[in-house]
């Protein structure tokens, strides 16, 4: 037994030791025999262009490798890692696509893709510019040097800190070159090893710095870049969209046909119409026929558009009611069954009376242009009962007292008495009108609104680029803007601030010329004025709108061809019929157009501000004022000329189109203006029409404020239209149609906010760059420097060991 005997334990131990010795010796022998393989890896040395090229090639390879991985299940771990980057980029493109879908203008859509692209570019460029380049400059090597390892995978040389293929790939000369750059003493033992260790240290520190900074750098720089890019792309993209809309005009019909095929859009209306006609064909007149049809026949848009809410074809329920009464059978319905039910218990005579009553009620409803449904008839009949003593006393008539029949009797009345054939014909007419006219108009409207929304976007983008220059051309500095923005009485301070600027500009010949030229250049640049655009061979937004509206209008006019003569006749006199004859009416078009062309006139109004101010200074304004006052019969009080001037400024600068027509023009519009108006222009109460004329004379017909939209309204607007504008002008002018002053106010806000945002995040970006660059100065302390020796000395760089000085 060997167990537990100390002697034996020793024997076992000896055997074990001999075995160990054997293994050890074998190992050492093998070590001598086996030599290291020559590494198959190599450095990737490329200039930036080659790098870009190979990144594209690599992406292609990744795609191929991904295909192989998915089909055959073969890929290296490095490849699997790269697939994630590939997926991230594809996902980024998909997200940009999704977000672009929810953006209104072409510029904003494009910005989504630019944003995604910039984000990935920043991610790639940030380490290159802020880490690789400074490290190369300071220490003589690129910490993200690419290598192809012996496995054939391309990777960053120092990515895996504990596995550095580059150590075997770099030649002695390469390493020594870096060592020279780093200033490592030539007489250091194991100089190359030390240099490699130092490179590893720096590369690791760089990688860590990269991870710390990338999260701040990528979003911040992306926002900064996109902020600038969006500004630069505004006008070109808007012009592109404009061109697209213009080019698309001939295809409107096809687009409308396509929209008609959109089952989703017409689903609700289709089912309403089919319910109504089915019911009519079954001989039952549906309750509230007119109201139901009016909803389904509504030619206001089915598509919600944020900026255009005016319906171009207003067709109210009265019109549909007329239509309904014209298609419904005109012969006297048979009320026998109803009368039986109503008065049957009281004998033949009572039934006869009841029948007569309803027949009379029917006649009176038809003459009175009322609906002939059972409830209306009962209402009329009730009135007749009340005015007839004999009827009032009969028992059955008491059931009419409430103006409504008991439900069981009423049920008989619904659909009673109409000629079934006539009802079928009515149903056919409804189908015909809906299919041949209403549906196409709804489709045209939705297409039209889609295009108008695009034009609105174009206006908006151009607007933004014009007002910016307007603020610049008036000589506003950053301080002015901050002062105005932070003032407590923004409106007045802004007015005074702009007054001062405009006056100063108008006084100084040079400044005046410069500002006018700047505004001219803006107009040229964005193609706002007609002359400028004609030179460039482009159309203005307004011109494109006119063509678009004309095309759609003529298509709608053509729809009547699809109707039978009889049906066409039954539509006569209604708004719908009018629309079919005339297309979009002029003022319907104008109200849609106002928000679009207001931008076109914006720069002109800015110029007008300066021209007006200049005219006030050289006296020509006063002459004009005297002339207008003479014509309108005002006596000008010389003391208040300054006040009049100021008021004119307010009107010219501060009022929107609607204001000029309403706020200053309508009597009873606040005592203040009334008093000012009466004082200034010596009007008696009720004579404010003169004031209106005066405002028009100065601001529209005069040369100070050339304003096509205002001119249009002055020429075409009857009082009723002026009032219509008053109702909706807030909504209409909320975004675009604002005054020069309003535009400047917005711009002051915008510029201030931009600057503020830029200050904070631009500052953050600058700070990040600073910290990233400076921290690299302190990199490269080798923690195990105490292990290296300079020839003939004990130690090397005491202060370097473990980072202790």
């Amino acid at each position: 037994m060997l167990n537990n005997n100390p002697q034996n334990v020793q024997t076992v131990s000896l055997i074990q030791r001999l075995k160990d010795k054997n293994v050890f010796e074998q190992l050492m022998k093998k070590h001598e025999k086996v030599t290291k393989d020559t590494p198959k890896g190599r450095l990737v040395v490329e200039n930036p262009i080659e790098e870009l090229g190979s990144s594209i090639v690599d992406t292609g390879r990744d795609v191929a490798a991904l295909g192989k991985a998915l089909t055959k299940g073969e890929a290296t771990d490095t490849q699997l890692g790269r697939f994630q980057d590939l997926g991230m980029k594809l996902g980024g493109a998909a997200i940009a696509g999704v977000l672009a879908g929810s953006r209104a203008t072409a510029n904003k859509k494009l910005m989504e893709f630019i944003g995604a692209g910039t984000f990935f570019s920043t991610m790639a460029l940030w380490p290159k510019l802020s880490i690789d380049m400074p490290t190369k400059f300071l220490y003589g090597f690129n910490p993200h040097q690419k290598v192809i390892d012996s496995n054939g995978d391309k990777k960053a040389a120092w990515l895996v800190n504990q596995f550095l293929p580059i150590n075997d790939i770099m030649t002695k000369e390469d390493v020594n070159k870096v060592a020279d750059k780093m200033g490592i003493p030539k007489n250091l033992e194991e100089r190359e090893e030390y240099t490699k260790e130092k490179m590893r240290t720096i590369a690791l520190q760089d990688n860590t710095l990269w991870m710390l900074s990338a999260g701040i750098a990528a979003p911040t720089f992306t926002s900064l870049v996109c902020n600038r890019a969006e500004e630069a792309l505004r006008v070109p993209m808007a012009n592109r969209t404009l061109k697209g809309v213009d080019k698309n005009i001939p295809n409107i019909e096809a687009a409308a046909k396509k929209a008609m095929g959109n089952a989703e859009m017409f689903k609700a209306n289709d089912s309403v119409i089919s319910e109504v006609t089915t019911s009519l064909r079954n001989g039952v007149v549906p309750e509230g026929l007119s109201e139901t049809l009016a909803k389904a026949f509504s030619t206001t848009s089915n598509v919600q558009s944020a900026t255009i809410r005016n319906s171009l074809l207003v067709d109210n329920s009265t019109a549909v009611e007329k239509f309904v009464s014209s298609i419904m059978p005109s012969q006297m319905p048979d009320f026998t069954a109803l009368a039986q039910k109503l008065a049957g218990s009281e004998g033949e005579e009572a039934v006869k009376q009841a029948k007569e009553l309803y027949e009379r009620a029917y006649q009176s409803a038809v003459t009175g242009n009322l609906s002939t449904d059972i409830d209306t008839l009962t209402g009329v009949a009730k009135g007749m009962v009340q005015s007839n003593k004999a009827l009032r006393q009969s028992n059955w008539a008491k059931q009419l007292k409430s103006g409504k029949l008991p439900e069981n009797i009423r049920a008989v009345g619904i659909g009673q008495g109409y000629d079934k054939e006539a009802l079928k014909a009515a149903a056919d007419k409804i189908d015909e009108v809906y299919g041949a006219v209403i549906k196409p108009i709804q489709a045209y409207n939705s297409v039209f609104e889609g295009e108008v929304a695009k034009l609105n976007g174009v206006s908006g983008e151009k607007y933004a680029s014009v007002t910016k220059t307007m603020l610049d051309s008036l000589g506003f500095t950053g301080e002015d803007i901050a002062d105005l923005r932070n003032s407590t009485d923004f409106g007045d301070d802004l007015f005074n601030g702009i007054s001062k600027k405009v006056q100063a500009t108008a006084q100084d010949d040079k400044a005046y010329k410069r500002a006018m030229e700047a505004l001219d250049r803006v107009q040229q640049k964005v193609g706002l004025t007609q002359s400028a655009s004609k030179e460039a061979g482009k159309s203005t937004v307004g011109e494109v709108f006119d063509r678009l509206a004309g095309e759609v209008s003529s298509k709608i006019k053509g729809l009547k061809e699809g109707l039978s003569a009889e049906t066409r006749a039954s539509l006569e006199g209604s708004d719908l019929g009018k629309a079919l004859l005339e297309g979009y009416s002029e003022h319907q078009v104008a109200s849609s157009k106002s928000s679009i062309i207001s931008v076109e006139s914006m720069a002109e109004r800015m110029k007008g501000m300066l021209t007006l101010e200049r005219a006030m200074q050289d006296g020509s304004f006063e002459k004009k004022l005297e002339q207008v006052a003479g014509e309108t019969g005002f006596s000008l009080d010389s003391d208040s000329v300054e006040d009049i001037k100021n008021l004119c400024r307010r009107v010219a600068w501060g009022s929107s189109y609607g204001d000029a027509m309403n706020k200053y023009g309508i009597s009873g519009n606040g005592k203040k203006y009334q008093t000012v108006i009466n004082t200034l222009f010596n009007c008696t109460e009720g004579e404010t029409g003169r004031w209106q004329q005066a405002v028009r004379a100065i601001s529209a017909e005069g040369s100070y404020i050339p304003d096509p939209a205002l001119e249009f309204r002055v020429q075409n607007a009857p009082e009723a239209y002026a009032q219509e504008i008053a109702k909706t002008h807030k909504a209409k002018f909320a975004d675009f149609g604002e005054s020069a002053m309003g535009a400047l106010k917005k711009q002051v806000n915008q510029v201030y906010n931009d600057r503020k945002w830029m200050k904070v995040f631009g500052g953050a970006a600058a700070a990040l760059v600073g910290v990233t660059l400076i921290s690299q100065l302190f990199f490269g302390k080798v923690r195990n420097a105490h292990l290296y020796k300079v020839k003939g000395q004990d130690n090397f760089q005491k202060e370097d060991s473990n980072g202790n000085k």
């Binding site: 999260g215 979003p219 202790n804």
Partner: protein, 328 residues
């Protein structure tokens, strides 16, 4: 000192690392509970500062796992930064500008969160799907014990712990740990037997590891490849939902009277906005395409990953003598 290897006595004493005995002295698979993934994540987050320190010092103990952990920083900071950039200054823009900026800010914030959520869901679905069909848990965690090197003059070697996944590498899955776990249960081939059964082998195989291992590798590669596509479509769905109008109208937390009230109203608000946004996104064409695409990518991803897994015909395997012994 050059080593004199001629005599045994010259082998220096105590050159072997003495390790404490016990389970935690070597790598081992840990049992998965419902919160294991969360705890591993938390462990990583907690360790980020010390990893950062090591990285900034250029420590030689800084391994790739630590680098990957630091790789989470750009995700966290970048997400926070995106939210900050589009939200921090909105209050100071004034009036209507503030209102619209805040609307977009909320969408951006929701986009960042839903992007992450979408990616997580996309990954989870494939992992769960693969596990349900093959029995391979691609997330199977193990605890890695690392005996670090002394670094710097006065630095002592220490032992650190990391959490990895057994199948995180397709080239080198940790078969050794699987074998070890089997041995602890008395059957070294326990895991392979289980998988072989799932593959369709009715009888126990002689060398199940030889049959199972290449199949598992294939599943890992295919699933990882699928996971580099599908989750990003899910993320795009998340971003699309976040871009919908209802998100812009999400309640202002500070507008509530008390914090408690606000916190109480929050889940309902999230549910309402979430529901409305999903509905509104589903109405758009892109929304439909993406939602269907996301589901389809998951289904196809799983189907493709497991497509080669089933045994061609349930045969009893023999030991392949030509292949070298492959254990680690």
């Amino acid at each position: 000192m050059p080593l004199d290897k001629s005599t045994l006595s010259n082998i220096p004493n105590n050159t072997y690392l003495i390790l404490p005995k016990g389970r935690d002295s070597e790598d081992h698979i840990i049992k998965k509970r419902f919160d294991t993934g969360f705890r591993i994540m938390a462990d990583k987050c907690v360790k980020i500062p010390s990893y950062t320190k090591e990285g900034m010092e250029g420590s030689r103990n800084f391994n790739f796992q630590k680098f990957l952990t630091l790789g989470m920083i750009p995700n966290f900071i970048g997400s926070a930064m995106l939210i900050t950039i589009s939200n921090a200054l909105n209050g100071s823009f004034g009036g209507k500008d503030s209102f619209f900026a805040a609307k977009n800010g909320r969408k951006m914030a929701a986009g960042v969160i839903l992007y992450a959520l979408g990616k997580w869901i996309g990954n989870k679905i494939i992992n769960k799907g693969v596990e349900a069909t093959t029995g391979i848990d691609l997330d199977m965690p193990y605890k890695k014990i690392i005996h670090e090197l002394p670094d710097g003059k006065d630095n002592k070697a220490k032992t650190s712990i990391e959490f990895h996944k057994v199948f995180e590498s397709s080239a080198f899955p940790r078969w050794d740990l699987i074998n070890k776990k089997g041995e602890e249960n008395g059957n070294r081939y326990e895991y392979y037997d289980k998988l072989a059964k799932r593959m369709g082998y009715k009888e126990e195989l002689n060398a199940p590891d030889q049959v199972v291992q290449p199949k598992v590798r294939e599943v890992i590669v295919k699933a990882t490849a699928a996971k580099s596509l599908s989750p990003f479509i899910w993320a795009a769905v998340g971003c699309g939902i976040a871009a919908q109008e209802p998100v812009g109208g999400f309640m202002k937390f500070r507008n509530r009277v008390t914090f408690g009230e606000a916190a109480k109203a929050l889940p309902g608000e999230i549910l309402r906005v979430g529901k409305e946004s999903v509905k509104s996104f589903a109405k758009t064409k892109t929304g439909k395409v993406l939602m269907v695409g996301a589901v389809l990518s998951s289904v196809l991803g799983i189907a493709n990953s497991v497509s080669g897994f089933k045994a061609d015909k349930p045969l009893k395997s023999t030991i392949d003598d030509t292949r070298a012994h492959q254990e680690f």
